[in-house]
């Protein structure tokens, strides 16, 4: 059992938001692969995640990890109706930019740029922050994601009205709410259990 956190003297921490691939270093020891039981494998959901230090650290509590992962997948990958994947990823990127999670923002900025083909707008969101002027629809999604990410939450009827005016229906608005809310879960784990690293 760990009594001391893991330090990485001299590691290269990214100091700006980026779409580049980053590494992530855990401050507590991930489970060693040989210690994984069936319950841990079930928590990892995808066996490939055993290669990730982040998921192997979270695997210390496999039941909540498994439920977290299944919640995540449905919010982002279930595209039967609702908000296009690109805009769910936009909400995730906006929440991550606002909370300051450079690692999460890098992953979901890549997804948002890939699915929307609007690389320049995503880069402006990363560079300028959540006040960047993208277009009416994206501005409404970013503003809603920011209001949901504030503590206490400031999301209100005006945000719903702005999303409606931008053409979103109730299911699509619910998708924005879930995508932004989920990144308030993910950002906090990523930011506080370890540190991103360049390359």
């Amino acid at each position: 059992m760990a009594e001391t956190v893991i330090a990485y003297p001299g590691h290269a921490e990214p100091s700006a938001f980026t779409r580049a691939e980053l590494d992530w270093l855990p401050w507590l020891p991930p489970l060693p692969a040989e210690d994984l039981t069936d319950r841990h494998w079930a928590g990892l959901v995808d066996a490939a995640r055993a290669k990730s230090a982040y998921f192997m650290l979270l695997a210390r509590d496999p039941d909540i990890l498994g439920a977290r992962t299944r919640t995540d997948k449905d919010i982002f990958y279930n595209t039967s109706g609702g908000l296009p994947r690109a805009e769910r990823e936009l909400a995730a990127t906006a929440a991550s930019r606002f909370n300051g999670c450079i690692y999460c923002a890098s992953v979901h900025a890549r997804f948002a740029a890939h699915h929307s083909k609007r690389e320049a707008d995503i880069d402006r969101l990363l560079a300028l922050g959540v006040g960047a002027d993208l277009d009416a629809r994206w501005n409404a999604i970013v503003a809603a994601s920011v209001a949901l990410s504030e503590t206490p939450v400031t999301f209100g009827p005006a945000h719903v009205a702005a999303l409606r005016a931008a053409g979103l229906d109730a299911l699509q608005i619910a998708d924005v709410i879930h995508a932004a809310a989920f990144f308030n879960w993910a950002n906090r784990l990523m930011l506080t259990l370890g540190v991103p690293s360049v390359g």
Partner: protein, 203 residues
């Protein structure tokens, strides 16, 4: 999984006021895995098959504190039902009042983002509450405040404080998941409540 997975009422539906057959019920039904697993997450954290390295009492105490930091009275009342006694509830209410802040704030790694640094308070429980809360819960409250309001200020020293207070690495993972899950649950509840109110308005 325990039998309660199917027996317990859905907490997000309960707290957001989603009733069977309502427009919000139909919307949630479009994302059945998210709905089921948000509930499974709640059960894994608050009705764990095995308490592991965080007791049930500790989980409800931290949840009550976290709901209070979000200024969500209904969620405070919901999680306070799991507390040991009314004395502990009063103690936590006093700490919530001392801990009030507006997030997210905090520092970035030195560089171009330093211009966006926003200083804000760190939190320690009061000297008066410390003996009753004990070292583990006091450290957990300090850490929960960091996660709720200024997670980008996180540093290895924050986790070391938990280890020094008697938390194991696995207990810290459970605690971190619990606070972070609540950040999600509270936002889904607040967001769906707002959306439901606009639907009831005739949209």
């Amino acid at each position: 999984m325990t039998a309660s997975v199917t027996d317990a009422p859905d907490v997000i539906d309960l707290l957001a006021g989603v009733s069977p057959g309502s427009p919000l019920d139909a919307i949630r039904a479009e994302r059945p895995q998210a709905r089921q697993n948000a509930q499974a997450s709640f059960l894994a954290l608050f009705q764990p098959a095995d308490e592991g390295d965080a007791t049930r009492a500790e989980r409800y105490a931290v949840a009550t504190f976290v709901a209070g930091l979000h200024r969500q009275p209904d969620l405070v009342a919901f999680y306070a039902k799991g507390l040991a006694d009314a004395g502990q509830e009063r103690l936590i209410a006093a700490e919530i009042a001392r801990a009030a802040a507006h997030g997210p704030y905090g520092h970035y790694p030195a560089g171009p983002l330093s211009a966006e640094d926003q200083p804000g308070p760190a939190f320690l429980v009061s000297e008066a509450s410390l003996p009753a809360l004990g070292p583990r819960l006091s450290a957990a409250f300090a850490h929960a405040h960091l996660l709720v309001f200024h997670p980008r200020d996180a540093a290895p020293g924050a986790l070391q404080n938990l280890l020094d207070a008697g938390w194991s690495a696995t207990g810290i993972v459970t605690l971190s998941q619990l606070v972070s899950f609540l950040a999600f649950q509270i936002r889904v509840v607040a967001g769906l409540r707002t959306l439901a109110a606009t639907l009831a308005g005739g949209a």
